[in-house]
């Protein structure tokens, strides 16, 4: 009696492991048969994948562009520095006097005087317009005093007040708050980031619908198979499994091709950016899409593929009824 119950138990276990093996086998089969099917219809698969890849690479390319811009602008520290441009009629000597006077102001941390000749030298060196300037009789550049206010003046309002004070001085042509353009740049970057996100969402939907549509076509082509499977007692999850894997492969392939596209585009831009960078003392270099970002991109594309397939299957599979 004991013996038979153990035998029975044993048999159940075998049954379970056999079923589990069969389950794994069904998944593996769906995984590879869907891949095989894509290869057999290589032309249409490649077209679908490329269209999806273009959509993904648009979003990813924009992302890489932002990465590069951030790398360039990230080096600019947000400072409260005020630049005072003196009138050209002001001599170097009185400029020096003014600089000393400002330096003695209790709200000022430090000043830096850039004389006309110094400015000209720097401009010739970095701008690449040196030869043009040689043509001019006189130096058109003004004397500049860069004023760094004390840290206690950390709010924009009091810095602006100080700036207005300087601007009223007769020698000063105009004053500029350096922080303003950094702030503007930062806001612009924020807008770009937001726009990039919107673009990514939009293109994500495109990927979703492209996969959905090709799964719909695939489902139509295999309508007979689905009908017969339903008649012999296949569940929805069994029938939809290979289609979900097809969606996965489409997304995965598109993600990979998008990586290739973005990397190629970056490669093409590498040379010109390098040349530009040399002009700016190699302050920046080009950034490629990273490993982590690539993995996220391919992962997201695969997920979108599965999800796009799922949406269509959920809707269309119920409509295929044996008659």
């Amino acid at each position: 009696m004991k013996n038979t119950s153990r035998q029975k138990n044993n048999k159940n276990q075998v049954g379970f492991s056999d079923k589990f093996q069969a389950y794994l086998h069904i998944h593996a089969h769906a995984l590879f048969s869907s891949l095989g099917r894509l290869f057999r219809n290589a032309f249409s698969s490649v077209m679908t994948i490329i269209v999806m890849a273009i959509a993904i690479s648009l979003a990813a390319g924009f992302y890489v562009l932002l990465l590069n811009l951030q790398q360039v602008t990230g080096g600019i520290e947000s400072s409260n520095q005020i630049s005072l441009f003196l009138k050209t009629s002001v001599s170097e000597k009185s400029g020096q006097q003014l600089s000393n006077k400002i330096n003695s102001n209790e709200k000022v941390e430090s000043v830096l005087l850039i004389s006309k000749s110094q400015a000209l030298k720097e401009f010739k060196e970095y701008s690449g317009f040196g030869n043009v300037l040689n043509v001019l009789d006189s130096n058109p550049l003004p004397t500049v005093i860069q004023v760094l206010p004390k840290n206690t003046l950390d709010d924009l309002l009091s810095v602006e007040k100080l700036m207005a004070e300087f601007e009223r001085m007769p020698q000063v042509d105009f004053a500029q708050l350096d922080m303003q353009w950094v702030k503007r740049l930062q806001s612009m970057m924020q807008i770009m980031q937001r726009a990039g996100l919107l673009l990514a969402v939009l293109l994500g939907f495109a990927v979703l619908f492209i996969t959905g549509n090709s799964i719909r076509l695939e489902l139509q082509n295999r309508r007979d198979e689905v009908l017969v499977a339903k008649l012999v007692g296949a569940t929805h999850s069994f029938i939809q499994r290979p289609f979900l894997y097809t969606g996965f492969w489409l997304g995965f392939g598109a993600g990979f091709v998008a990586w290739l596209m973005v990397t190629c585009m970056t490669l093409v831009l590498h040379g010109p950016v390098e040349r530009l960078s040399i002009q700016y003392d190699r302050a920046f270099g080009i950034t490629y899409i990273g490993v982590a970002d690539t993995l996220v991109m391919i992962g997201l594309a695969s997920l979108l593929g599965v999800f796009g397939a799922w949406i269509v299957l959920r809707h269309q599979l119920a409509q295929i009824k044996p008659e």
Binding site: K19, V228, G233
Partner: protein, 219 residues
């Protein structure tokens, strides 16, 4: 095994296809369903195969009321059935073996079990040597037998056949009918829709006759 209890089926645009049909098939019973075309034979089979739901009455299959089966349970009810169609409904891009294996694959059997059972079913219909062939390379009678092998491979309790000999010559038809008798002899319930009255009467089994949706005779 299969019980129809005052079953009616009305199509919104075509009117009554079945009207107050009641009968009971016992386990291991073989019977024919006859009647002129449009008499409701196909509708009756569709109700059992859960391709349609009846509008009135109850269909009981193996004690289960089919009106109360949820969509999710439909596949599991169908696994108790072996369905045979006039047009075979074979998949022409798959081998004979893969066609017959399909009901087992969808039920999640392991490969060894599948291969054992498929060979047994193919052996039964005399097509063991053609397992690697594609259906289109087979004759009409052979294709029909592949369909039968697929219907019995899952050891169903009830075999439903809709005009299984419709496309076959008399000799092949008799052969196929003989095959059904063999399944009946091992305890499977068999219901065959056929308009071939001569063949039906030769076989000498119970005959359900439908006319304009009503059960005219059940003897």
């Amino acid at each position: 095994m299969l019980k129809f209890d005052h079953v009616s089926k009305r199509y919104p645009d075509a009117g009554d296809a079945l009207l107050d049909v009641s009968f009971h098939l016992k386990q291991g019973e073989m019977s024919f369903l006859t009647g002129h075309s449009g008499a409701g034979k196909s509708t009756l089979l569709k109700l059992v195969a859960m391709m349609e739901l009846c509008t009135r009455g109850h269909v009981l299959l193996d004690g289960q009321n089919l009106s109360k089966i949820s969509d999710k349970q439909v596949p599991f009810v169908r696994r108790k059935l072996g369905l045979i169609f006039q047009d075979n409904k074979l998949l022409y891009d798959r081998t004979v073996f893969d066609n017959v294996a399909l009901p087992l694959v969808v039920s999640g059997y392991g490969y060894n079990e599948i291969s054992r059972r498929v060979r047994a079913a193919l052996d039964k219909v005399g097509l063991l040597k053609k397992e690697k062939k594609y259906p289109l390379t087979l004759s009409g009678g052979e294709q029909q037998r592949v369909g039968i092998a697929r219907a019995v491979v899952n050891k169903p309790k009830l075999i439903l056949a809709d005009e299984p000999t419709g496309n076959l010559d008399p000799e092949l038809s008799a052969e196929v009918m003989h095959l059904f008798e063999q399944f009946q002899q091992v305890g499977v319930t068999v219901l065959i829709a056929s308009h071939d009255l001569e063949l039906v009467s030769q076989m000498g089994h119970r005959v359900l006759t439908l006319g304009h949706g009503q059960l005219l005779a059940s003897e």
